[in-house]
């Protein structure tokens, strides 16, 4: 069988990234659940205190980056499946990337702005 090999195995890389980021998201979600259950809910002092903690901020940044990467692969798959005209698909993909990179900047601003 003759195979047409395209790209640089980015399909496999993305497939794996989707799953690795998913596990990061699950772990972080369970961390929040454990904190909320342990504390019996979430009030302002706890909320504020968590975001004042450097390790928590880094963990949250990791969560956000995993979330944005995860969203990129998922949303791109949706565009690839349903939007056939190349120009329109490319436009939507670029807008998706821009929104996600913007969200990443916003997340950094929130996390390190909260440190002040």
């Amino acid at each position: 069988m003759k195979r047409v090999v395209v790209g640089a195995h980015y399909g496999l890389k993305d497939w794996l990234a989707q799953r690795v980021t998913a596990i990061v998201l699950v772990v972080y979600t369970l961390l929040w659940l454990a904190i909320a259950v342990d504390h019996g809910g979430i009030d302002y002092p706890l909320w504020r205190g968590l975001f004042a903690n450097g390790a928590f901020r880094v963990a949250t940044l990791l969560f956000w980056l995993a979330l944005l990467w995860h969203a990129w692969i998922g949303v791109r798959d949706i565009w690839m499946d349903y939007i056939k005209p190349t120009a329109l698909r490319l436009t939507l993909e670029v807008l998706t990337v821009l929104s996600l990179v913007g969200y990443a900047g916003w997340a950094v601003e929130i996390l390190w702005g909260a440190a002040k």
Binding site: R19, A22, I23, V26, T29, Y44, W47, R48, F51, L67, L68, A71, G74, V75, I78, Y103, W106, A107, I110, A114
Partner: protein, 132 residues
Amino acid sequence: MPALERPVTRPRPVYLNLVRIRLPLPGIVSILHRLSGAALYLIGLPLLLFGVQRSLASPEAFDSFRGALSNPLAKIVLIGLVWAYLHHFFAGIRFLLLDVQQGIELKPTRISSIVVLFVSLALTLFVGVRLW
């Protein structure tokens, strides 16, 4: 049976019409995974960032943000997003298990589909009742 011995079948209808398609249970879980993911990207992501930013500003902002959630429309949107997150969460874990060859026979895939649909709806109901 091998492909060559298979009797020639009459052409079967292919329903690509979304109204006529009848998805099997795993198909329902799958399309809801996609729909919930799209909703989380479009609405959930910006709302989460906005919420975290606002609520961290001051105790008053935290309270006023909580107060904004007493709006029935805000509650409906939040409950919708809670369902989207929960369904995406549990359906995602199911997909991860399928990836490592767990429960890939017909019957287990149906059972796990029902479990995903039921657990995410039940937890959404639980959160919804507490929120309301």
